[in-house]
Subunit: 273 residues, 2 copies
């Protein structure tokens, strides 16, 4: 079963994609052919979009699904003439919001993801630079400025998580890679002792760790399942003994790791939405 | 004017935040006090959420706005007893989708951001490692494997953009920092000549570039407005002369830079939603 899906937006299409994606994942066994048509900001582009939608309708023999965050009324009216089934996000929710807030909405384009606010940009860049600078524990002197210190064995997902926290939330995350040497001594590694409250652990299924490490260093002791099992078990034992919150990165996506971290640490994000 | 806002979700709350945020930005002059209540996966947590919502209602004297992507019916029924005004994203759209697709939805939690699919994880990690490895042009030998090569003067936003493309879309982006030396010679810098089709330019307002560079090297010639103006003008002239698509990173957010890049280059993302 195949179905064409279009995400329509005056701007980036990110909101339309998010909405549509979260709805479509609820339907199994349908192969959704997704196309984003962003920056629909002229009558001509809207007519071209209608053409593409109608072509898909003709090819598929069923109505394409249209998820729209179009704000411009003229654009919406043109899209409405197409053969697609329109799910109009703003249309549904803006009116009741206007009622409740007792005011008209701006109906202005590009507010959600479109603004280059300098303070937001700077928070992001600073956090990204922080994450890059303190990647893999090379600069322990960054720890005093870190809002969170991610700890885990090599290849447990610290770098992408710290970058995601920086880019998405403007949070300054440092890393500490747990070495075999650390695991052989009881208690926290020495450089971490003064930062207990900022530690957040990442663990991973040994099988996946083996897979990831093997791509980096095939057939090495480092990538052997035995070694991966030993390190993961010992690291988790440390997290438990030291009461460090941790999450298994093999079971969830980076988005979910980051949200869980915020939730469990109570860290406040610098960027919202 | 103040208004409390709650984002309610069985899982991360990312979808509820994105959708709510895009609606709220349409209302100016209201100070929205935002709280995310993620992982509402038990009756007890739902009752606690109702308490927090009712407390906000009592404090504010107006109804809190609730943006929910809750799928679990029991949770939704409990939230519905609160003093908040519920905007239920799934409730509104799932039924018409079920009708059109001729099937029941799974009503299953954690599909949108919750899955740790290995191929997605690997695409991200590979792209992040690629971006980190080829940051600031240190490894020109990565260019053959790059899907896009971001070019721009120092501090024009190449690194955060390449990381965003990697994390969000799994796209392998390399960087090339345009130097003064490059600008003094006509045409493309030599290392880029064979990759014309993969180039994407980043430019920036000279005033903002000055601000960013000044934080790095205060009172330097590098950070002077004169130098920034010269480099930006010369780089933009190169983009135009060589027909390289480019975007001004000072006017828009990283999300929008990335989306514009996808749109203009026709690059296909590896991750969707």
């Amino acid at each position: 079963m195949k179905r064409s899906v279009f995400f329509l937006s005056d701007r980036t299409g990110i909101t339309a994609e998010t909405l549509g994606h979260s709805l479509l994942t609820q339907f199994e066994g349908v192969e959704f052919q997704k196309t984003t048509l962003p920056f629909l900001d002229s009558i001509e582009k809207a007519h071209q979009a209608v053409k593409r939608i109608n072509q898909a309708a003709a090819d598929d023999g069923v109505k394409p699904l249209l998820f729209s965050t179009l704000l411009n009324t003229s654009m919406r009216e043109i899209i409405d003439t197409s053969e697609g089934l329109l799910f109009d996000f703003f249309d549904v929710f803006i009116s009741p919001l206007e009622m409740e807030l007792g005011m008209r909405s701006a109906h202005a384009v590009g507010r959600s993801h479109g603004m280059g606010i300098y303070s937001d940009y700077k928070a992001r860049i600073d956090a990204v630079n922080f994450a890059l600078g303190s990647d893999d524990g090379s600069t322990l002197r960054d720890y005093p400025d870190a809002e969170v210190i991610l700890i885990g064995v090599s290849r447990s997902g610290k770098t992408p998580t710290s970058l995601y926290l920086a880019l998405q939330y403007g949070i300054r995350a440092a890393n500490y890679p747990i070495t075999e040497d650390d695991l052989e001594h009881p208690g926290l590694p020495k450089p971490l002792k003064s930062y207990h409250d900022r530690l957040f652990g990442l663990t991973i299924a040994p099988e996946r760790l083996q897979q990831i490490r093997s791509e980096r260093r095939p057939d090495s002791a480092y990538a052997s399942l035995k070694q991966c099992r030993y390190e993961v078990r010992a690291a988790e034992a440390m997290f438990r003994a030291e009461n460090i919150p941790f999450v298994d990165t093999s079971a969830v996506s980076i988005e979910e790791i980051a949200t869980t971290l915020l939730h469990q640490t109570g860290l406040k994000r610098r960027l919202y939405g």
